[in-house]
């Protein structure tokens, strides 16, 4: 057994490669929950409804639950590996220690692009919402959304630059409000505290429930991921939580439970109020479905509440995305997988400030230029590639360090069942993306293949070999 104890409460200050300046350990389980749910909750406020467009209302519900199973597997696997490999970079650092440098480089890129695209999607939604508020409050012209998109991203980047505790405390508060807004909308419209406004039977009549048949159910899995995409981001805070072994599994698993409830309630309310064709068109129809649902209740307090909820959800998500993408970029730079300049920590705020600043223009470029469904698809594809890596990672982790050889903060049950289920659901989702968005899928994989060749044949020469392995573990079995 290695002497290193991940469960120790006294372990602190893990600076990069033995340096003294590490990220600040100030976060608790609630912050981890807020980081995970904060990034993802926006998935209930926008984007998931493209699943209705791809398969109809029932298809979106099936996708919601199957994606829920997929993410439960992700959370189980993540909790075990992260509570043992507690370092910034999350899955990137895991890949580096368990699979190898090239896989780690790719996983780092998956994380950066999944989160940066999600951040761009959030900014687009925030801009749309502000223009809707302007219209509803009597503004006659067409409001230019771009200044609001730019301001949202710049403000949150500044917040992240200043420090992680303030950033995630801010997230905790606005995420809680956004979650409460969904609960209140459900209670107010479902017949529990007021007369029911639901029209499921009539809105699902005829072919409306499954307009494409069962192939539509498969196709809907593509955007089904959006209900939960980003929950795995909790691992990015691994170097900044006070007790990784306790806070990371608790925060992540509580997060996935919260999201399963929120996703199901969201589906129930939206499909019971909005005709599926309008709901499923997130570009020209319902961009922010919970807000649209609130408009259909004719209740001003609900309209305002869900407007605020949508805005808070997008801000919380964008905030968490900046946090996670910058840490992944920082970790890549720290290990020289990217130029080492990015691996710097701010001397006063102890944040990866150069990475935070560098990713701002990339997020802006996509938020200002690309349509929402394509930005969402880019994010989903990077996430999907990452989830496909996870079961491979888990199987190799248990094989190279069998149970008892190192101390794990959390051990997930039923191995290798979650890995097999996750891999199968990823295969189904690849097919779902292929139905309708095949070109983007091929373009993204072509990008990762070219980037991999670039890394293997050029960039890797600048990387120290042994220094990449920073965990005080014994030699992996079979090596």
């Amino acid at each position: 057994m290695a002497e290193f104890d991940i469960t120790s409460k006294e372990r602190d200050g893990m600076g990069p490669h033995g340096t003294n300046v590490g990220l600040l350990r100030v976060l608790g389980p609630a912050h981890v929950w807020a980081l995970g749910v904060g990034i993802v909750l926006v998935g209930e406020y926008m984007g998931w409804n493209f699943a209705v467009g791809k398969g109809g209302a029932y298809a979106a519900l099936v996708a919601c639950w199957f994606a829920g199973i997929l993410y439960t597997c992700v959370a189980m696997i993540d909790s075990e590996v992260t509570s043992t490999v507690a370092a910034a970079g999350g899955q990137y650092t895991q890949a580096k220690h368990i699979v190898g440098p090239l896989m780690a480089f790719n996983v780092g890129l998956y994380l950066v692009f999944a989160y940066t695209m999600l951040e761009a999607a959030n900014a687009i939604t925030a801009g749309y919402l502000i223009s809707e508020v302007a219209r509803l409050t009597g503004y006659a012209g067409t409001l230019d959304q771009r200044p609001f998109i730019i301001l949202s991203i710049m403000f949150l980047a500044w917040l992240n630059y200043r420090g992680v505790l303030a950033t995630l405390t801010f997230n905790l508060v606005i995420t809680a409000i956004a979650f409460a807004a969904i609960i209140i909308l459900f209670l107010s419209t479902s017949g529990i505290i007021a007369p029911s406004m639901m029209h499921h039977a009539d809105l699902f009549a005829g072919s409306a429930a499954l307009p494409y048949g069962w192939i539509g159910v498969l196709a809907a899995m593509h955007f089904g991921l959006w209900y939960y995409l980003g929950i795995e981001g909790t691992t990015q805070a691994a170097e900044e939580v006070r007790s990784p072994a306790r806070a990371l599994p608790f925060g992540t698993l509580a997060g996935i439970m919260t999201l399963l409830i929120a996703a199901t309630l969201t589906w129930y309310v939206c499909t019971g109020l909005i005709p599926w064709e309008y709901l499923g068109d997130g570009l020209n129809g319902s961009v922010a479905p919970l807000f649209t649902a609130a408009l259909l209740t004719n209740s001003q307090p609900l309209v305002w509440l869900l407007g605020v909820g949508t805005l808070f959800a997008t801000l919380a998500s964008a905030n968490g995305c900046i946090n996670d993408a910058s840490r992944a970029w920082f970790a890549l730079g720290r290990d020289k997988y990217l130029p080492g300049w990015f691996g710097a920590v701010h001397p006063k705020f102890r944040t990866p400030y150069r990475s935070i600043i560098f990713l701002v223009p990339i997020a802006l470029a996509f938020a200002l230029k690309a349509p929402l469904d394509q930005v969402v698809t880019f994010s989903i594809l990077s996430g999907l590639l990452e989830y496909t890596f996870m079961p491979l990672n888990m199987i190799l982790f248990r094989k190279k360090w069998p149970m008892g050889s190192i101390k794990r903060g959390y051990e997930h049950p039923f191995h290798p069942l979650p890995s097999i289920v996750l891999l199968s659901l990823c295969a189904i989702t690849f097919f779902a993306v292929f139905l309708g968005y095949g070109t983007q899928l091929v373009a993204m994989i072509a990008f990762y293949i070219v980037a991999s060749l670039w890394f293997h044949f050029w960039r890797y020469r600048f990387v120290s070999r042994a220094a990449q392995f920073t965990m005080p573990w014994p030699r992996p079995k079979g090596y």
């Binding site: 467009g53 190898g100 809105l203 470029a365 968005y437 293949i449 670039w454 042994a466």
Partner: protein, 130 residues
């Protein structure tokens, strides 16, 4: 195993690496978009109806569209939203295209695992063979 000492990378070379990566990123995301190949292909069938009846909408569905019309101009007129109601994905696909996609995905992961394994063995050897 001999200790590998990486060469020191100059500032210009670092900058070049960032530019390459950015060019690849923007290329992967923007080229399909500019070529019109990105995004879901939803089309309106030729001769699709433009009245509530022709579009198969029942009383509740019409009522909800009318309710949306209170807040969004144009939604009480079925012709104005017929494109949203009638548009559908075409899920027909060729088996060859599907097989090509499967081969690309599998080849990607095989490449990844194979190259990673070579690099990983070097890392472990240098770390543990003192």
């Amino acid at each position: 195993m001999a200790h590998y000492v990486p060469p020191k990378q100059g500032k210009l070379s670092q900058l070049f690496d960032v530019i390459v990566l950015m060019a690849l990123t923007f290329g992967a995301l923007y080229i399909p978009m500019f070529m019109g190949l990105a995004g879901g292909v939803k089309t309106v069938p030729e001769g699709a109806g433009q009245t509530w009846e022709a579009m198969g909408q029942n009383a509740t569905q019409i009522a909800q569209y009318n309710a949306l019309g209170l807040t969004k101009p144009g939604f009480t007129d079925p012709a104005a939203i017929s494109d949203i109601i009638n548009a559908r994905y075409d899920y027909s696909f060729s088996v060859t295209a599907l097989l090509v996609m499967v081969v690309i995905i599998v080849a990607y992961y095989v490449l990844m695992l194979k190259f990673s394994e070579t690099e990983y063995r070097e890392v472990i050897a240098e770390k543990f063979d003192k």
